[in-house]
Amino acid sequence: MSANTTTQVLHLLAPLVALAAMAASHAVLCRLRPDAAILNLLVVAGFAGLGGLFAMELLARFAGQPLGDTFVTMMLVDGPIYACLAYGYANFVNLGHASVRIRIYRELLDSPDGIPVSELQGRYDEAGMLSARLRRMLDAEDLAFDGVAYRLKKTRLLAISKVVFGLKKAVLGRQSEFTT
């Protein structure tokens, strides 16, 4: 295999190795710190994945690729691919943690005779959803509560919401499923 092909293969594998490093470190972190906020563990695991990406880029450099080319490929190709994969993984994990649909699915899976609609709606009432979300956001210090009112403490979720609601407007032409 020529040096050129070797560096191409290393760049192809770099995001996959990084994702594997992220997923493996996340699994270990979840078992070591089961009570930690899931978002914090994902951020730490994301950095571990980044370490895997840098290691692969170093290998490409040692395989003979000029430093400038390695850097440009990492910034323009391998880094964005890893970002997409890491983002997909984080959402995959979060889907099992916060998705109402997944929870309903799990309830139905455990009930071969089905569940009455009224009972299902009772189990997932808006008050329960509100308290679960407030508790999670307080634990992760995204919100602050002074005994009277809730305020935003960290802006990371707000930044995500701006991107999501902006995309909704661009793709679907509306910002919410409950408004026209």
Binding site: V100, Y105, V117, R151, L157
Partner: protein, 171 residues
């Protein structure tokens, strides 16, 4: 650099087709159509991108480089399809964050948050979505799981329980 240009051309063309299609008419199974559009459309457009690369004087890509382009398209479409779930259905968490942020430094009291949640029937909407997408069906006022349960949901739950060791319920 040639791999980057190929990725930009391919994703740009696919995303343009997606936006135009969605503005004309929303498909019934939006996420399935999105996956099909990007994966099958990506394969169909690859020869056109190869021609464009030659025309732009960038040269031809090797087989490994095309695999890299393919990986980029798959990574992007997976990330986008995951995000798309949050586009087609409002996320209760992000809706709450937006509402609390809109109140500014005064913050929002719990009663106001309860009113806000009551004005948005998230559960009913998710239940309707499950039924509409064929993952569940309603019979005799009871909701039943479809005969062929959704593989992604199975994977999410298995990963959560077996790999991460998390057994407590989220939601």
């Amino acid at each position: 650099m040639s791999v980057f240009v190929a990725i930009v051309l391919l994703l740009g063309a696919l995303f343009a087709v997606h936006l135009i299609w969605w503005r004309i008419a929303l498909p019934r199974r939006q996420r399935a159509v999105l996956l099909g559009l990007f994966l099958i459309g990506g394969l169909a457009l690859a020869p056109v991108v190869a021609l464009l690369l030659g025309w732009l004087g960038i040269g031809t890509l090797s087989f490994v480089q095309w695999l890299n382009v393919g990986l980029a398209v798959v990574a992007f479409v997976l990330a986008y399809v995951v995000t798309y779930s949050a586009l087609e259905a409002d996320s209760p968490t992000l809706s709450l964050v937006r509402y609390i942020a809109s109140a500014g430094p005064d913050g929002v009291r719990e009663e106001e948050l309860s009113e806000f949640m009551a004005s948005r029937p998230f559960v009913g909407a998710r239940l309707s979505a499950l039924i509409e997408e064929g993952m569940a069906h309603e019979r005799d006022e009871r909701v039943h799981l479809a005969e062929h349960p959704y593989t992604l949901f199975k994977m999410v739950l298995l990963h959560r329980q077996k790999v991460l060791g998390l057994t407590s319920h989220g939601g």
